[in-house]
């Protein structure tokens, strides 16, 4: 069941979160997402997400001399990420509170 819930990790959100601090190219994004968020993004998923985010103006490519083109989050992307983070934070807060009431779970 836990594995199935992992699918809730929304790849576009992971990519936006990865780009929130600084521009990164594809491999750096997959490494960052794996190390900091514990999710491995496949090449197919990553570039499907990049294409979608770029089409919606949430990220933009930067000039690059080699094939490893970096992307950076746009203002619209940062705004979308902030809204979604706030929503997730509320969900997490409610979940923690109710679990602690019912099971005495202290979180971790």
């Amino acid at each position: 069941m836990t594995d199935r819930l992992d699918r809730w990790a929304d790849p576009p959100l992971l990519v936006l979160a990865s780009l929130a601090d600084e521009p990164k190219h594809g491999y750096a994004i997959t490494q960052d997402v794996a190390e900091t968020m514990g999710v491995r993004l496949s090449a197919g998923t990553l570039y499907a997400v990049i294409a979608r985010l770029e089409a919606r103006g949430l990220i933009e490519p930067l000039e690059s001399d080699d094939r490893r083109r970096p992307y950076r989050i746009t203002l619209a992307g940062a705004d979308a990420l902030a809204q979604q983070s706030e929503r997730m934070s509320r969900v997490a807060s409610v979940a923690r509170e109710r679990l602690s009431t019912r099971l005495g779970w202290a979180g971790g």
């Binding site: 190219h25 594809g26 491999y27 997959t30 496949s42 090449a43 197919g44 998923t45 990553l46 570039y47 499907a48 990049i50 294409a51 979608r52 770029e54 089409a55 080699d66 094939r67 490893r68 083109r69």
Partner: protein
């Protein structure tokens, strides 16, 4: 050396997608190692890239032109497969007692093929005339020839067919060998005739309401043609299962190959036309 599987998977993507992202994906695979899992994930994501093309990779007219060019060729192949079907089944009078769905399939095929051709012809005519005027005004002889191929090639093919039948046809018509020859020649002629306007579309780059109308008509025509393809599948399956007199098809291999070709042609036509129609009606 790039992983061959991943390269093959990238070949499944639309050209515009590959032009924009292929080098980056290959660089990622260089860094991370592209095993079968990476190839599988790329292959899995290729289909949505066709169905929902990224808006930023195309301007809308270019998207419509590319879709029209592809849909025209695949539609012609599907229509050719349909005519072969009609020639070898309903025109030979094959029926299956106790299976009325076969007659229904024949009727549906006839109506939908005619309707699809009519919609495509009427919807595409203003664009064809527009391009013809454009080519003539700018004295682009080669483009004029490309545009006239859908008229010239079928006429030449039919003339060749009549001569062939007179020269080598017997009392029962053409032998199976000659039937195969004229059928293959027909597909070749259809491909050339359909490719002409596609090339002209790429070279002349028309825009405007005529292009939008043609893209919309292509979507409607493809949807109707998909129904014809379903009718073919129903009829051929019914004949194979229940009409044992259906000579030469007893082992199921030939109908199987034929149906696979029908499904491929119908899928390409539907997807391409849907992409063009989507571009025609998408918000700017």
């Amino acid at each position: 050396m790039k992983p061959p599987l991943a390269r093959a998977a990238l070949a499944l993507y639309p050209p515009a997608w590959r032009a924009r992202y292929q080098d980056e994906v290959l660089a990622l695979l260089d860094d991370s190692g592209g095993g079968p899992a990476a190839a599988a994930s790329l292959a899995w994501r290729a289909l949505p890239a066709w169905f929902w093309p990224s808006r930023h990779l195309h301007d809308r007219p270019a998207r419509m032109r590319a879709s029209l060019a592809t849909a025209l060729v695949s539609w012609s192949m599907l229509a050719g497969l349909g005519l072969v079907f009609a020639q070898l089944t309903q025109l030979q009078g094959f029926t299956a007692a106790g299976h009325p769905e076969l007659r229904w399939a024949y009727a549906v095929f006839d109506v939908t093929l005619a309707a699809s051709a009519l919609v495509a012809g009427l919807g595409g005519l203003p664009l064809w005339l527009l391009m013809l005027r454009l080519a003539r005004r700018e004295q682009r002889t080669r483009d004029t020839v490309y545009l006239l191929l859908p008229v010239l090639v079928p006429v030449a093919y039919l003339a060749g067919l009549i001569v062939t039948v007179r020269l080598v046809g017997g009392a029962d018509g053409l032998s199976p060998g000659w039937f195969g020859v004229v059928t293959l020649a027909g597909f070749g002629a259809a491909a050339i005739a359909a490719t002409g306007p596609g090339v002209a579309l790429r070279r002349l780059q028309p825009r405007g309401p005529a292009l939008r109308l043609a893209a919309t008509a292509a979507g409607l025509s493809a949807a109707v043609m998909a129904v014809a393809a379903v009718a073919i599948v129903v009829a051929v399956t019914s004949l194979t299962l229940w009409a044992r007199q259906f000579a030469g098809y007893h082992n199921g291999t030939v109908p199987g190959i034929y149906l696979a070709l029908v499904v491929i042609a119908a899928t390409v036509t539907t997807v391409s036309a849907a992409r063009g129609t989507h571009a025609a009606w998408a918000q700017p």
